[in-house]
């Protein structure tokens, strides 16, 4: 429990730093740290697979992509739009209402029975693999169609036609 509170505190601190950092590159670096604390959360909850995926995909791949995009679009101070005061007030107001709604609805909720893990070893890679290749084999296989379609489409949209065609 002690570790959980330390890590939870750290993730909140880092996520505040993400939105308060002036430099966008710093902001992304803080985001990487935030995701790293999430990975530790997953390990604490005995969810090996989620931890590894979070580490590799989110921290590794997606945030590197973020960094590249930022460098490509060259975000400077001048290009940042200045928001009027009223917009800021409205944003704070809207966010506050959302927070009130969330807190009050969470107060109403108890912990429902299925949420409590019946099997603490559920998140281990071994158990996940068993479920994935027995019960959920069909969705697993069918998602290959999804990936194939996305891949064909990406190639199709990215290749250049030899001569520009007249539009219909």
């Amino acid at each position: 429990m002690q570790t959980f509170y330390i890590i939870a505190f750290l993730s909140i601190v880092f996520s505040i730093l993400v939105i308060s950092a002036k430099n966008p590159v710093h902001s992304i670096l803080y985001l990487i740290l935030t995701f790293f604390t999430f990975t530790i959360h997953y390990i604490l909850m005995n969810a090996q697979f989620l931890a590894i995926v979070n580490f590799i995909v989110y921290m590794g791949a997606i945030l590197v992509l973020f960094l590249y995009t930022l460098m490509l679009i060259n975000l400077n101070k001048e290009s940042e739009p200045v928001k009027p005061f009223m917009v800021k007030v409205a944003a704070v107001f809207g966010g506050g209402i959302l927070a009130v709604a969330l807190v009050s609805s969470l107060k109403l909720l108890g912990t429902s029975a299925p949420v409590v893990l019946k099997d603490p070893n559920l998140g281990l890679v071994k158990n996940l693999g068993k479920v994935l290749f027995n019960e959920f084999l069909l969705p697993f296989e069918v998602s290959s169609v999804l990936l194939l379609s996305a891949m064909v489409g990406a190639v199709l949209l990215a290749t250049k036609d030899k001569e520009p065609k007249a539009t219909i």
Partner: protein
């Protein structure tokens, strides 16, 4: 096919494959509807799935027949277009026959991802790019809602299986988790986006207008029908006992959809944009079956969807021809069409009458079943509002007919290729036959 440079063989092979798929689907038909879930409860290919698979495949065949010579004008890589359309059809077959929420999600995603690409295949056209990007961003956002809803349902009921969720609802009539209600609402948001119902319709006009006409025809017929089939399957299988909770929500969505679709369609100058808003209003009529959910719902959605798909395919097919001829999407392009193209004008008139719901056409039968379903649950006011909307819709559908028959335009004849004649003839015949003899398809499921 793309590997072998046999571009002429693409269309026949595709249509042949679809016919085989249609045949094998129909072979599964059982008289007593006794299919059992397959693949450890992932799919259930019962008569409902067969009927909706069949209508999706038939509509796709009709649209592909219209594609003869169409994709060649856009790009050199036509094999990929056929492949992507078939991928999205595969997703649709999954959507109409799922028995597990994970399958439903994957089906919807296969369909949507393919459509994002298809909307943007005219790479040099700004409107097409805008359509693809807009559809992609909004679609990804709505997918988030849908997935969040599924996660909340799983969190409270402990199952992805439709049977499991139904058992949970039936087993806890008093203390259903609040998260479950939130999950239902989020799923409604996600599904309403996918079928283009107001107030989640904002992407529809721009995407339908920007996408190539043939793809718009596909999106507004096959995709919409599959969305409703998935919607109905989920709600009739899982949430039927909680109908008191979500019926008012859907009732409001239906009424808003009807009014927004019909009133905005009145003000359109472009035929394609008018069809986009008319498809929003038809989504409203199709919602009737889910609002008044019951044993006959599947049947009325099937009849309505058949009538609507056939009529829309004719409308978009003639739009493609008129657009190629006169270069405009507007109603003026149809002026004087009846003088030099009586056949085209006639089939377009039949389809417009069917969309407006005039008797002796299939559209009337579809509306009749929808209204009967609503009346049987004493939703009289809903039916009155729908009738008012049907009257409004007659105005803008008749604008096309008036332009064709009573306005004069240029006298050059629009050339109709043989494939188009086949599709138009078949569709007009089907519309009238179903309109006169509805029991042909109305007692299937």
């Amino acid at each position: 096919m793309g590997l072998y440079k046999a571009q002429k063989a693409l269309l026949p092979v595709t249509v042949l494959g679809l016919l085989v798929a249609l045949g094998t689907a129909v072979m599964q038909w059982t008289e007593k509807n006794e299919a059992a879930p397959m693949y450890s409860g992932m799919m259930l290919f019962n008569n409902f799935s067969i009927a909706f698979s069949a209508i999706s495949i038939v509509s796709t065949i009709l649209i592909l027949l219209l594609s003869k010579g169409y994709f060649e004008k856009i790009s050199n890589h036509i094999a990929e277009y056929y492949a992507i359309i078939l991928f999205s059809l595969a997703g649709i077959i999954v959507m109409v026959s799922y028995h597990n929420l994970s399958m439903m999600f994957i089906g919807i995603e296969i369909m949507s991802v393919s459509l994002y690409i298809l909307a943007g295949i005219r790479k040099n056209d700004f409107a097409s790019n805008e359509a693809a990007l807009k559809y992609f961003l909004m679609g990804a956002f709505s997918t988030g809602f849908l997935l969040f809803g599924i996660a909340l349902i799983y969190g409270s009921s402990g199952s992805f299986d439709l049977e499991g969720i139904r058992t949970y609802v039936a087993g806890n009539p008093q203390n259903i988790d609040p998260l479950f209600y939130t999950g239902i609402l989020l799923i409604i948001v996600g599904m309403c986006f996918k079928v283009g119902a107001a107030p989640f319709h904002f992407w529809t006009p721009d995407v339908y207008e920007g996408a190539p006409s043939l793809i718009t025809a596909y999106m507004s017929t096959v995709v919409k029908v599959a969305g409703f089939a998935a919607f109905l399957r989920l709600f009739s299988a899982c949430f039927l006992l909680m109908a008191d909770f979500w019926t008012p929500v859907l009732l409001v969505i239906t009424i808003v959809t009807l009014f927004i679709g019909n009133i905005t369609a009145l003000y359109q100058q472009s035929f394609k944009r008018m069809m986009a808003f008319s498809s929003i209003s038809h989504a409203g009529y199709l919602m009737f079956a889910i609002v008044a959910i019951g044993a006959a719902s599947a049947n009325s959605i099937f009849v309505y969807a058949t009538a609507y798909s056939i009529a829309s395919i004719v409308a978009f097919g003639s739009l493609i021809l008129v657009r190629q001829h006169s270069g405009t999407d507007n109603f003026e392009g149809f002026n004087g069409l009846a003088k030099h193209n009586p056949f085209l004008a006639f089939v377009l008139t039949v389809s417009m009458l069917s969309l407006a719901g005039i008797p002796l056409t299939a559209g009337f039968i579809g509306k009749f079943y929808m209204f009967t379903g609503a009346l049987s649950q004493y939703k009289v006011w809903l039916v009155i509002i729908a009738v008012i909307n049907a009257i409004i819709s007659i105005f803008y559908y008749f604008r096309v007919i008036i332009a064709m028959y009573f306005r004069s335009g240029d006298d050059a004849e629009v050339a109709i290729p043989a494939y188009y004649k086949l599709v138009f003839g078949f569709s007009a015949l089907a519309t009238i036959v179903i309109g006169i003899y509805p029991t042909l398809i109305s007692a299937l499921i």
